[in-house]
C-alpha cells in the first residue's frame, strides 16, 4: 500500500558524493522490476513549455543497470489515491548515476500534473525497477530508423545517447514529429550529438510552425513521400517507434504500405490509449424499425426485436441471459453460433475470421438483418 507515501521536505545532500570513494567503487546494480525503492530528485529541467525532465538518484547514490529504452513504473499517492504510471527512462544507462524521466504535462493527467507541480530537487518518488523490451537488443540493426512523436522521443533518446556514449557512430536516422518547432524535445542536444556522430541524421516534421514562422523544416504529418525523400533506404532499416497510439498505428500502416518488413518493426508497447470508442448507437433508418424474430435452438424460447439494438441487449430485455462482459466486441465472452439468419456485426477484434466463417458472432455488437436462430 502507498499510504505511507507523502512528499518529503526537500533534503539537502549531506555528503559530497563526488569526493566519496564509495561512489566509484561499484558498477551499476541490478534493480529488479518487482522491487520498489525511493528515488530522490536532483534536478528539474524545463525542456519545452509543457515538458520537464526529472533527474533522480537512488537513495545511496549508487548507479543502476538498465537497457536503453526501458521504462520504470513510478508510484505516488495523489489526493489519497495510489497512482502508478510507466515512464521511459530518458537518460542513458551509460550515465547510470542519474535516472531521468521526461514528462509532458497532459491536461487532466493525474500523474503528469502531480509530477510537474510537486517534484523539485530533494523531493522523493517511489519507483519500481526498469522493465520493458523496447530496447536495441530486440534486434541487431546495421541501420536504424527511429520514429517518434511528442514525448515518445524518450526511449529513442536514451538509445541515441547510449550509442554515442559507447563511442559508436551508428547509422541512425532519427525522425521526430512534433506539434510545433517549439515543442521539439531535446532539439539542442540532438543537434550536438549529431555533430559527434556524423552517421546520426535528424529529421523533424511539425504539424504547424507555431511561433516560428521561419521554420525551414518539414510541416504537416509524416508521410511515405517524406520518408522516401529523406531516406530512400528506409525499407532496409530496423524501425523503432514510440509515440501516442494513433501515431504508432499510422506509422505502422504507412510502413506496411511502403513494403517495410513488419518483422523489423518494433514499437513501445505500454504507451497505449486506454480503450476503444464504442460504436455510437446510431439511429438507424427503416431497417431499425423492421421487426425480427429470434429463436433459441436449445429451448423453446423466442423473442422479437428490431435493429435499433444489439442481439445481446434484446436478449437480456427478454429474460435470456447470455454471458458477456465488455459489450464492445473485444472480449469475446458473448460468442454464439448463429444457426440461421444474418446479422450486421461491428466487432473490435474479439472474434477471428475463422470463427466468423464457422457461423459464430459476437452478440454484443451484432444487429439482426433477418430472423435468427441462435445456438443457445
Amino acid at each position: 500500500m502507498n499510504s505511507v507515501e507523502r512528499i518529503f521536505e526537500p533534503v539537502p545532500e549531506t555528503t559530497d558524493r563526488l569526493c566519496n570513494a564509495d561512489t566509484w567503487e561499484s558498477g551499476g546494480r541490478l534493480w529488479p522490476s518487482s522491487v520498489k525503492q525511493t528515488l530522490t530528485c536532483c534536478r528539474v529541467v524545463d525542456e519545452t513549455h509543457d515538458v520537464k525532465s526529472f533527474e533522480f538518484r537512488t537513495s545511496d547514490g549508487l548507479p543502476v543497470r538498465f537497457e536503453p529504452g526501458q521504462f520504470m513504473t513510478v508510484s505516488a499517492n495523489v489526493q489519497g489515491q495510489s497512482v502508478e504510471r510507466c515512464y521511459t527512462i530518458s537518460s542513458a544507462p551509460t550515465r547510470p548515476y542519474l535516472l531521468s524521466i521526461t514528462v509532458k504535462r497532459v491536461p487532466g493527467g493525474t500523474m503528469s500534473n502531480w509530477l510537474h507541480e510537486n517534484m523539485r530537487p530533494g523531493s522523493q518518488l517511489a519507483a519500481y525497477g526498469p522493465s520493458g523490451t523496447f530496447t536495441p537488443t530486440a534486434a541487431p540493426a546495421v541501420k536504424s530508423l527511429y520514429l517518434s512523436a511528442g514525448s515518445g522521443v524518450t526511449p529513442l533518446m536514451s538509445m541515441t545517447r547510449a550509442g554515442i556514449d559507447l563511442g559508436l557512430d551508428r547509422d541512425v536516422a532519427f525522425v521526430h514529429s512534433a506539434r510545433t518547432p517549439a515543442d521539439i524535445v531535446f532539439l539542442e542536444e540532438l543537434e550536438r550529438l549529431a555533430k559527434l556522430s556524423p552517421r546520426l541524421r535528424l529529421f523533424f516534421v511539425c504539424e504547424g510552425v507555431g511561433e516560428e514562422p521561419d521554420w525551414a523544416g518539414a510541416t504537416g504529418r509524416l508521410s511515405l513521400e517524406l520518408l522516401s525523400k529523406w531516406l530512400p533506404d528506409y525499407a532496409e532499416r530496423e524501425v523503432f517507434t514510440c509515440g501516442p497510439a494513433p501515431y504508432m498505428s499510422a506509422v505502422r500502416e504507412l510502413l506496411r504500405e511502403g513494403g517495410h518488413d513488419p518483422a523489423r518493426y518494433h514499437q513501445e508497447s505500454f504507451d497505449i490509449s486506454a480503450g476503444v470508442v464504442p460504436e455510437p448507437a446510431e439511429a438507424r433508418s427503416e431497417a431499425a424499425q423492421e421487426t425480427f424474430t429470434v429463436k433459441l435452438s436449445r429451448s423453446t424460447k423466442s423473442f422479437t426485436m428490431n435493429a435499433s439494438e444489439t442481439v445481446l441487449v434484446a436478449a437480456r430485455k427478454n429474460g435470456v441471459s447470455i454471458p458477456s462482459s465488455c459489450s464492445q466486441g473485444m472480449c469475446g465472452t458473448c460468442k454464439t453460433k448463429v444457426l440461421e439468419g444474418s446479422v450486421d456485426m461491428k466487432h473490435n477484434g474479439g472474434i477471428r475470421e475463422r470463427e466468423v466463417q464457422k457461423g459464430f458472432r459476437l452478440l454484443c455488437c451484432s444487429r439482426p438483418t433477418s430472423d435468427l436462430v441462435l445456438e443457445l
Binding site: S33, T73, Q81, P262, I272, G275, S325
Partner: protein
C-alpha cells in the same frame, strides 16, 4: 536418511567422481528437482515449441514449466509473442495448457481482456482513475531461431543465446522452417529424472542394441567409439564412413550449406548446444527405415534430398532436420521421477498427407526410438534409486558427452550459488 548424512545439492554434485555417473539422490530427491527446475528451466533458455504450434493469428499454445506457465500467441502481424500466463488482476490462469484460438486473451474470471500485444484493452468496474497501461501481460524473453521458440523466464536471460542464434540461423535458413506444419505430435511421460533423459540422448552407446529403427539411418561414429575392440568389419565400416563423410561435407559446402560441427557444451557455456550436418546411412536422405525421404515435398525450395541430418542439441531438446522433414523433441520435468517429452514432426506447409507423405513412414523411426528410450530411462531411474547403486564409469569413448553434460550441470549450479 539421518540428518548427519544429508548432503546438499551442491555437495552431491561436487562429490561426483570425474568420469562417473551422478549419485541416485541427484535423480530422486525432491529438493534437487525443485532447484533443477528453477535453475535449468526458469533461468536458462529452454525450447518450448515451434512456430507451427501457432500457425495463424490468434492461435495460442500454452506451456506449463514447473509452477510457471507461458502463453505463446501469434499476433495479427504474424509475430510470435509470449507472456506469463497470469492475469494482472488477481492472478488467474488465462489459459489451460494446450492449444486454442482467441480473438483476444480474456481472463475467465473477470473477463479482463488483453490485446495480443499484451496491453490491457478492457476491464469493467475499475473506475476512471484506473490506469490499464501498467497492467499489461508480462512478456517473456523470447528468441525464434528457425522455427524453434526459445524462452527464458529469468530476469537476466543468458546472453550467449546469441551464439546459438548466429550458428543456427544460417543452417536452418535453406529449410525455411517457418513455412512448415506439424504433421504429427507425440507426448510421452517418462518415469525418470530429466537428467537421465538428457544423458540418454547424449550417447549412442546404447543405440546398436536397442534402436534397430534409428540405426538404419543414424551413424554414431560422430559421437565417439573405442578403436581398440573394433572387428575387421567395423574398421572397414569406419573407413567407409570417413570417406563418405568427407565427400558429403564437401558437396554440401559447395551448395552453400554450413555443415561443420559446432560445440558449445562445456563448463564455459551457459546456453549449451551442439550442431552438425550429419551424414545419413544407406540412401543418405532421411531418418526413415528406408533412409529415403518420407515426404516428397521437400522443405523450402530445396533441390536435393541427400542433405543428411542437421542436428541440434540443447539442454532440454534434440532436433533433426532433414531435407523433407524435421523431428523436434523437448522435455519439461514434471517431478523427480517424471519427465514430459514432446516431439513434433514437421513437413512443408503445403505437403499433403496421403499424397506427399504418410504418417507411418514419417514417424516410424522416432516413435519407436522414443518408446525404446522411455524404457531405458525408466529402468535406469529405478536402478539408481536402489540402495545397491553406485555410479559407474562412463565410456571414455562413447559417453564423453554424458560426462560433459554432468560437468556443465555442476558448473551451472555453481554459477547460481548452489
Amino acid at each position: 536418511m539421518s540428518e548427519a548424512q544429508f548432503k546438499t545439492h551442491g555437495e552431491l554434485i561436487r562429490s561426483r567422481q570425474p568420469g562417473h555417473g551422478m549419485t541416485g539422490e541427484l535423480f530422486g530427491r525432491q529438493d534437487v528437482f525443485e532447484t533443477d527446475v528453477d535453475v535449468f528451466f526458469h533461468k536458462h533458455w529452454i525450447l518450448v515449441g515451434v512456430t507451427a504450434d501457432v500457425p495463424e493469428p490468434g492461435d495460442v499454445s500454452t506451456v506449463d514449466i514447473g509452477k510457471a506457465s507461458i502463453i505463446i500467441v501469434r499476433d495479427d502481424d504474424e509475430n510470435i509473442r509470449t507472456y506469463r500466463n497470469v492475469c494482472r488482476h488477481r492472478g488467474a490462469r488465462l489459459k489451460e495448457a494446450g492449444k486454442s484460438t482467441v480473438g483476444m486473451l480474456v481472463c475467465p474470471y473477470h473477463q479482463w481482456t488483453y490485446d495480443l500485444d499484451g496491453s490491457l484493452r478492457h476491464a469493467t468496474h475499475m473506475g476512471k482513475d484506473f490506469d490499464p497501461t501498467c497492467r499489461s501481460l508480462i512478456p517473456v524473453h523470447t528468441r525464434i531461431v528457425g522455427t524453434h521458440i526459445f524462452v527464458c523466464l529469468g530476469e537476466n536471460p543468458p546472453k550467449d543465446i546469441a551464439k546459438l542464434e548466429e550458428t543456427m540461423a544460417p543452417r536452418f535458413a535453406p529449410y525455411d522452417l517457418k513455412n512448415t506444419k506439424i504433421a504429427f505430435e507425440q507426448e510421452i511421460i517418462e518415469n525418470g529424472n530429466w537428467k537421465l533423459v538428457m544423458e540418454n540422448n547424449r550417447e549412442c552407446y546404447h543405440c546398436q542394441a536397442t534402436h534397430p529403427e534409428l540405426t538404419a539411418s543414424f551413424l554414431p561414429e560422430d559421437f565417439g567409439f573405442c578403436p581398440e575392440n573394433l572387428g575387421e568389419e567395423s574398421l572397414r565400416a569406419l573407413e567407409d564412413y570417413k570417406v563418405r563423410n568427407a565427400a558429403c561435407q564437401a558437396s554440401w559446402e559447395q551448395d552453400g550449406f554450413v555443415s561443420a560441427n559446432v560445440e558449445w557444451l562445456d563448463e564455459d557455456a551457459v546456453t549449451q548446444f551442439r550442431t552438425q550436418q550429419l551424414v545419413i546411412a544407406g540412401n543418405g536422405e532421411s531418418q526413415t527405415i528406408s533412409t529415403k525421404v518420407a515426404s516428397t515435398r521437400l522443405f523450402g525450395n530445396l533441390q536435393r534430398r541427400d542433405l543428411g541430418d542437421t542436428h541440434l542439441w540443447t539442454h532440454n531438446s534434440w532436433t533433426h532436420v532433414m531435407s523433407d522433414h524435421a523431428v523436434i523433441s523437448y522435455i519439461i520435468p514434471l517431478a523427480p521421477d517424471k519427465t514430459l517429452v514432446r516431439s513434433k514432426w514437421l513437413v512443408h506447409a503445403d505437403a499433403v498427407e496421403g499424397v506427399d507423405y504418410n504418417i507411418s513412414d514419417l514417424t516410424e523411426v522416432w516413435v519407436a526410438t522414443n518408446n525404446q528410450d522411455k524404457h531405458l530411462v525408466e529402468i535406469t531411474h529405478e536402478g539408481t534409486q536402489d540402495p545397491a547403486y553406485s555410479p559407474g564409469m562412463f565410456s571414455p569413448f562413447t559417453e564423453t558427452y554424458v560426462d560433459q553434460f554432468s560437468r556443465w550441470y555442476a558448473a551451472r549450479l555453481s554459477a547460481h550459488g548452489i
